[in-house]
């Protein structure tokens, strides 16, 4: 029986009474969903469309597997789809089909070697086509490289496009999987727009500036145009920022509590980086419950309980399964977090994390000799850093980017200081967003601390900041507002063009790097 037929058969299989009650319920749910969609402003949909088309554009111009970890993510999905099992090792030995493609597109000669170009002649193309025409096996031995420690939800979703394109070659499957990611890029921009609508309710035009700024951000386009769970994590994180902002304005209703709980589950099952956001989200839920309790009594704590119960349920089930099967409570996840190999004092770690983002204080041991991390690891790389960490703009472009960035930061600060009463009123909300941000930065820093002896500074990648895109959008919107009523819209328009230009030049950079 096909899936469609199976779904169609379900209502008929229900008892008559339940079917009779279920139908109007379903209609009501569908109607309320349609109403919710209708309430989303047209501008939000356009932002989503822009992000989606931009990611689609990136998906066509980035060569297959020339995105960090894409071969691993593909191997994970292939393992689920072909062998119906979770991965069994982090070795770098994939299915014969994937190995053939990697060899024939010269993956290992091209990645991290900017002087080498990708496949560039008809003969090489023919060789790739002929190798794929022999239908090499799609079954690997369970090895998925660095994706081994990742939770499976994203890869389960990716089995849908993988299956839809299974009649074609691996390249067809990969392209369709990238297209699913492009949709996630669209969702990210949509949720950022909605977040801004809740966070800055009086500045309608600023929502568009922030929403479009995020939609055009080249790092979102690059990662949403590839096969990577970072795009889904960005969408889920943006959704949580939106739901929290909504709860701060309208109270923590049962519905919002359930939605936040579900979003947390999706986040946990998408990528472990989400753990960094979790403490801030829990803090937000607690603050919201305490606030709501003043007006709604104990029901506020019930809503908090519902959200937390939903959020932790998959973690508890996972831990129980691991304990029952004789593994550590957190299974392979604990290995990824490297609790088993904890080293150094808490002060060492705090000092390392501080220096990873900010200039070293006088009493600190120097973990990054010769590096101004704030500028050289993060700012320059946020301006443009593509491929396998091997493609960036010349230094003068990074220097030039300092000028508009400095102006926008100053305008953003001006906007914040200009409305101190609102700042005080919304201090708790700001602290929650700050805690989410700090949690993520701390997690990235800690991962870098543990891996630095073997992998160097491999965690210094701007894509890890994608879960904070909602705050980036907020920063852009605030900068536009900081220019005042007269010049604000003009600055907003310039911000949109700046991001558009960054995106276009980033695409030209990537085209020149691979096809020039």
């Amino acid at each position: 029986m096909s899936v469609a037929k199976a779904f169609a058969a379900v209502p008929r299989a229900l008892p008559r009474g339940r079917r009779a009650r279920g139908a109007p319920d379903a209609r009501r749910s569908a109607a309320s969903l349609a109403k919710a969609f209708a309430r989303v402003p047209r501008a939000a949909w356009v932002c989503a469309l822009v992000a989606c088309l931009n990611a689609l554009c990136w998906s066509f111009l980035t060569p297959p597997f020339e995105v960090p970890d894409e071969p691993f993510h593909f191997a994970y999905t292939q393992q689920l789809a072909e062998n119906h099992r979770l991965p069994t090792s982090n070795a770098y030995a994939f299915s014969p089909e994937e190995e053939v493609v990697e060899r024939d597109i010269h993956l290992y000669e091209v990645h991290q070697s900017p002087e080498n170009r990708t496949i560039s002649s008809a003969a090489e193309e023919r060789s790739l086509e002929e190798a794929l025409a022999q239908h090499p096996s799609r079954r690997g031995n369970g090895a998925v490289g660095g994706a081994y420690y990742s939770p499976p939800l994203y890869y389960l979703l990716q089995t849908i496009p993988y299956g839809l394109a299974s009649g074609g070659t691996l390249l067809d499957q990969l392209q369709l999987m990238r297209m699913l990611n492009a949709l996630m890029g669209g969702l990210t921009a949509l949720f950022v727009f909605l977040f801004l609508r809740e966070a800055l309710p009086r500045a309608r035009w600023a929502w568009t500036v922030g929403g479009l700024g995020v939609a055009l951000a080249p790092m979102l386009g690059f990662m949403s145009g590839a096969m990577s769970p970072d795009a889904m994590l960005a969408a889920v994180s943006a959704a949580i920022f939106y739901l929290l902002a909504r709860a701060f304005r309208r109270g923590l209703t049962l519905r919002l509590a359930i939605l936040i709980g579900v979003a947390i589950v999706v986040g946990f099952l998408t990528k472990l980086t989400f753990i960094g956001l979790a403490p801030g989200i829990v803090l937000g839920l607690v603050v919201l419950a305490v606030r709501s309790a003043r007006t709604h009594g104990r029901s506020a704590y019930r809503n908090l309980g519902v959200a937390l119960a939903i959020a932790v349920s998959p973690v508890c089930i996972y831990a129980l399964v691991n304990v029952a099967s004789g593994h550590g409570g957190l299974g392979i996840v604990s290995r990824s977090l490297k609790f088993e190999h904890a080293q150094g004092s808490i002060f060492d770690k705090a000092s390392y994390i501080w220096q990873l983002y900010l200039p070293r204080l006088p009493t600190m041991r120097n973990y990054f000799p010769g590096l101004f991390t704030t500028r050289q690891l993060w700012f320059d790389r946020l301006v443009g850093f593509y491929g396998w960490l091997d493609t960036s703009f010349p230094r003068w472009v990074d220097n030039l980017a300092l000028v508009p960035t400095g102006i926008l930061v100053a305008l953003g600060i001006r906007a914040l200081l200009g409305d101190r009463a609102a700042l005080r009123r919304r201090l708790a909300e700001i602290v929650v967003y700050g805690a989410m941000c700090l949690g993520l930065l701390a997690l990235i820093g800690l991962s870098s601390y543990y891996s630095s002896p073997s992998e160097g500074l491999g965690y210094a990648e701007p894509r890890y900041f994608l879960p904070l895109l909602a705050l980036f959008g907020l920063g852009l919107a605030l900068a536009a507002r900081g220019a005042g009523q007269r010049w604000g819209p003009a600055v907003g328009a310039v911000i949109v063009v700046l991001l558009l230009a960054q995106n276009i030049f980033s695409q030209l950079l990537v085209v020149g790097r691979y096809y020039g």
Partner: protein, 212 residues
Amino acid sequence: MRSAVVALGIALTLMTIAVIAVLVGSPLATAGTNGVLAKVDGSLKKGDLETCQPLGRIPSGTSVIRVAIEAPAAGPNVTLRVLAGSRVLSEGQQAAGWGSAPKVGIPMAGLTDPVGDERICTKIGPIAEHIQIRGTPIRQPPAGAKLSFQDMALGMEYLRPATQSWLSQASSVAYRMGLGHAWSGTWIAFLVLVLSLAVAVLAVRLTLAEVR
């Protein structure tokens, strides 16, 4: 608001001019090497080192020198100096933090053909992670000592702007964009162009509608 429309118009015009300026410019192409083979592959744990080697012949118009220094994720500050005796003829620098690559490109200004016994000195700043260097020993270390950075001549490539502009190479770039993907053909390049234009048009129209 009129100011938003004017700002949008000016910003778009500047962006278009910048895109055209990039397209009429030329990509960098390898014009030659210093002929030093990668006989030794060494690892450095500490920086703040300098090694000098004979300059040899540099192709005219060289604007970037690529040196065989590899960093896993964030390379150190690298400075190149061309010296005639103790006089600095030309100098270039790549700031720390460059990405993962087997060679680092250093922009050089005012390089001219060597006339005599010029040397080129490579200085590596403090390092935050182990780096690899590749080259050939130019002198033997004292008995019992290991080969050091100062005993090595590093492999170098000389790059200069190609004779053709990006624009004149557009058709060959478009051809290559159609290879190695799910669907083959030059039309992929046009699809990318159409998508890119659609993104720009949608973004500008929405800005005009909402921000005015």
